[in-house]
Symmetry: C2
């Protein structure tokens, strides 16, 4: 039974973890009998977006507390997790990855990464763990790789600006369709475009299912 950490960035596509991608990741892992642990950093969200209007709201929310909604309460603080507990780590997408786990949404290739998140990803790479990045999450991996001698092969689908930003940070971007998975066998990293390209939940589910299958092979 492979032990897999799923790292969430909140609860909701515009300010947190993309909910469909998060749930579909859990489903694909559970179908393969993975031992799943949900993790999130105990930090404030960058902001709160009213998802019915798309406008920022005058509220404060916490990434771990909101991510606990997706986790049905069963979630741990990322700061207390040790990479040696796990065989693999997955990051579902959503703007929370680019707003809360790093600031790619604001600063693009000049982004910086939350120190807990950066430490966890670097520890995973050092320990040769398998890593999965969904939707916009490959940009987080590229942020971590920046200024290090890491050049991960990643996909965010076909969006030219995001692909260029990934390349500027030293990543290698490969275009892909919604059901495709790009694999970096050396770094043991898999990525898939999900809602960067997907228009239907069923095609996003197919891409994530393939990513999880590949992730468990890499682990």
């Amino acid at each position: 039974m492979k032990k897999v950490a799923v790292v969430l960035s909140g609860c909701g596509v515009f300010d947190g973890a993309e909910i469909h991608e998060s749930v579909l990741t859990l489903l694909a892992l559970d179908r393969r009998d993975a031992d799943i642990t949900l993790l999130a950093p105990d930090i404030p969200q960058m902001h709160v977006v009213n998802h019915s209007t798309g406008q920022p709201a005058e509220e404060k929310r916490n990434v771990l507390v909101e991510a606990a909604r997706v986790a049905r309460g069963e979630i741990r603080d990322l700061a207390e997790a040790d990479i040696n507990e796990f065989d693999a780590v997955v990051f579902p997408g959503g703007f929370g990855v680019a707003k809360n786990l790093c600031d790619f949404a604001v600063n693009g290739p000049e982004c910086s990464v939350n120190p807990q998140v950066e430490r966890f990803i670097l520890a995973a790479i050092d320990a040769r763990k398998a890593l999965g990045f969904i939707c916009i999450a490959p940009a987080l991996m590229a942020c971590v790789a920046k200024n290090r001698n890491l050049h991960p092969r990643l996909t965010i689908g076909t969006d030219a600006d995001t692909a260029a930003a990934i390349e500027k940070m030293g990543g290698v971007h490969l275009p892909a369709q919604v059901r495709d998975v790009v694999v970096d066998e050396d770094l043991r990293i898999a990525s898939t475009p999900a809602y960067m390209l997907g228009r239907r939940i069923s095609e996003v589910a197919d891409g994530i299912d393939r990513l999880v299958e590949k992730l468990l092979q890499l682990a």
Copy 2:
């Protein structure tokens, strides 16, 4: 292509719609090419629960605004929906069904139902539309049936107290396991226990998939 309304009660198992059940319902519908519309009432939540501690929080949230997170922004006010737009209606579970759409969580068999929700369900029954109820949502159907000459056959799994409450309201409760669907062919109602019994997302997914298959047959 069947037109199906999915009615959400917020975003999070303890104070809103159960997120996994909601997403798995969308997945099962989309895999069968249903034309999906997300709906929620534009009303305050009964309360807000911090899902990482399980404790009530000092916040106010709105059911429609939070449900929009599950819907990726694509959601309509239930008050503006006409049952004639749809072939079928599904209610995923979560405490929001029993706290926001009706007050079953507080008042048990003495519950009352939000007037918009009650109107919509009664219109569906009158128009012979197919109805699906997941997890605790069959209790909502029983609340609506109460004091009317309706005796829907429903399941919430095996929980004795909830089953007794459903029977007290005039419903007929049939015990079921997590992958089972109970069907009332006369009233065109399907129900499945989901997380009332499920311990794994994959078994909940199987039950919901069967419910959706049956729902579309009834529609």
